[in-house]
Symmetry: C2
Subunit: 284 residues, 2 copies
């Protein structure tokens, strides 16, 4: 079922000025105004002790746990980020020679191509997978022990690995971050963040046993009643939007699968509730 030009009724006092802006032809479009600095960069793996400042901008992680922080010292909170953030491929994977930027025959986009062997190095968005774990009308959140958004609450989630399915990856991340064994119940949401080349895939899940505890990347794990979710201390825009959609569905008694895009405002911090627009909102 399609939603056309509807206001995004995520009533959590984000902005007094909700507005609808058609952005993508043929898709529902909702946004709200906001300000501020830095992209959603989930598992960068920087312990709190190495924190460089909450509003410092990060280059996109390469997509795995233990990734070095890759902080771009040239980017500060007041500097607008480039439209799309990707690590530069300067040398060929296969032969180690330099690459150059070329639009290959039959392509429309600039690619990094090896000047010696001609290999084309494509860069594609990465999937972040996570669980919305339900237990006795509460949901499981983890307080992050690592940057970005150290000290803020999130759903257990992380980059999908080669060789696993999204559901397996979401369960693995929940085990790693909350030491919780879960049964994945249903797909709940896909939230694309084009600016940073990430797509969040969130599943509903339930605890197999009522046990959880913080893993190495979490300071604390806790169950929150829906009315008690700390919306002013959530780590990422994707988590804010997911939890608001979940609360709406739960209160209406109609759980759906949701699709939307999150357009980060240049310079916004990952957790800034006014630092993004929600767009292209669809559901099953």
């Amino acid at each position: 079922m399609m939603l056309r030009s509807v206001h995004l009724s995520l009533g959590f006092g984000v902005s007094p000025l909700l507005r609808c802006l058609p952005r993508f032809s043929g898709l529902a479009s909702c946004s709200w105004s906001g300000i501020s600095a830095s992209p959603e960069g989930l598992p960068l793996g920087v312990p709190c002790s190495r924190q460089h400042g909450v509003f410092r901008a990060f280059r996109m992680s390469s997509g795995g746990p233990g990734t070095s922080p890759d902080v771009d010292a040239a980017l500060g909170s007041a500097v607008a980020l480039p439209a799309i953030q990707m690590p530069k491929i300067c040398f060929c994977h296969s032969c180690g020679n330099p690459t150059k930027q070329v639009i290959p025959d039959g392509d429309k986009n600039m690619r990094q191509i090896c000047v010696v062997c001609g290999k084309i190095h494509y860069q594609n968005p990465k999937m972040v997978v996570g669980c919305l774990v339900e237990h006795n009308d509460k949901v499981l959140l983890c307080k992050r022990k690592i940057e970005p958004s150290c000290g803020l609450w999130t759903l257990p989630a992380g980059f999908l690995e080669i060789g696993e399915s999204a559901a397996e990856g979401a369960a693995r991340e929940t085990l790693e971050e909350a030491c919780a064994e879960v049964e994945v119940l249903s797909p709940f949401a896909q939230l694309d963040i084009p600016r940073i080349g990430q797509s969040y895939i969130i599943f509903r899940a339930r605890l197999k046993t009522p046990h959880f505890s913080p893993g190495p990347e979490s300071l604390e794990c806790a169950l929150f009643a829906l009315d008690d979710i700390p919306f002013d201390s959530l780590a990422f825009s994707s988590i804010i939007v997911t939890l608001k959609m979940y609360i709406e569905d739960t209160k209406s008694g109609n759980l759906k699968f949701h699709y939307c895009t999150i357009n980060k405002r240049p310079g916004a911090s990952p957790s800034d509730p006014r630092g993004f627009d929600v767009d292209q909102r669809l559901h099953s």
Copy 2:
């Protein structure tokens, strides 16, 4: 809603031996038996004239249009493929020096790490996005002009690019492959193929105008009534499964969002209807 241990009732005569095998703890599991050789490798960009043989195995594409075929001559139809197929990262993107395989501190997986600068090179699954275009109770299919599966029918789909959302990418691929402008209506399915590091995201869509024609990668485009879909001439397992789920939903009058995994059998061709198992089947 979760489905537990149900038979996958895709009644299209794929195999006489449907069987249920629990594979992923806590998830519904369905499979059927099959035989054969090579992974689903969507937009490899090899024209028919360069075809090396339908059952030859391909290394995974790097994820973009115009990708060179990257045929592994050492792999034939009779040779079992390695468990997961990814291009090897032999040299560092950043400095061009060799990499070595190491499990980084705090990680559990082997990664390619630069021996000089220490950069970790993660490899993550890629998203393939496409549209199931509905028009007058028919669906739009494209006959492929490129390998793999040249000459077979598919939904318009291709690798998601950096900077676009999945819905935008699905509409772009439909424009490129079928010269059709579409309005994306709703998310329909996610089909993960862990063995080859791909995740298909399929949207329902409608034609904005009743015009379509083959793009450079298509030999032909046509609308098919659901009873006339050429299941014996479909290009990929993901397309077979998507269309069967769509027919089931349409006939029951209950369109849902579907999630499943496709486990390619080692050595199976992309289009072999007996060359894969469907597993972890969930829906919204």
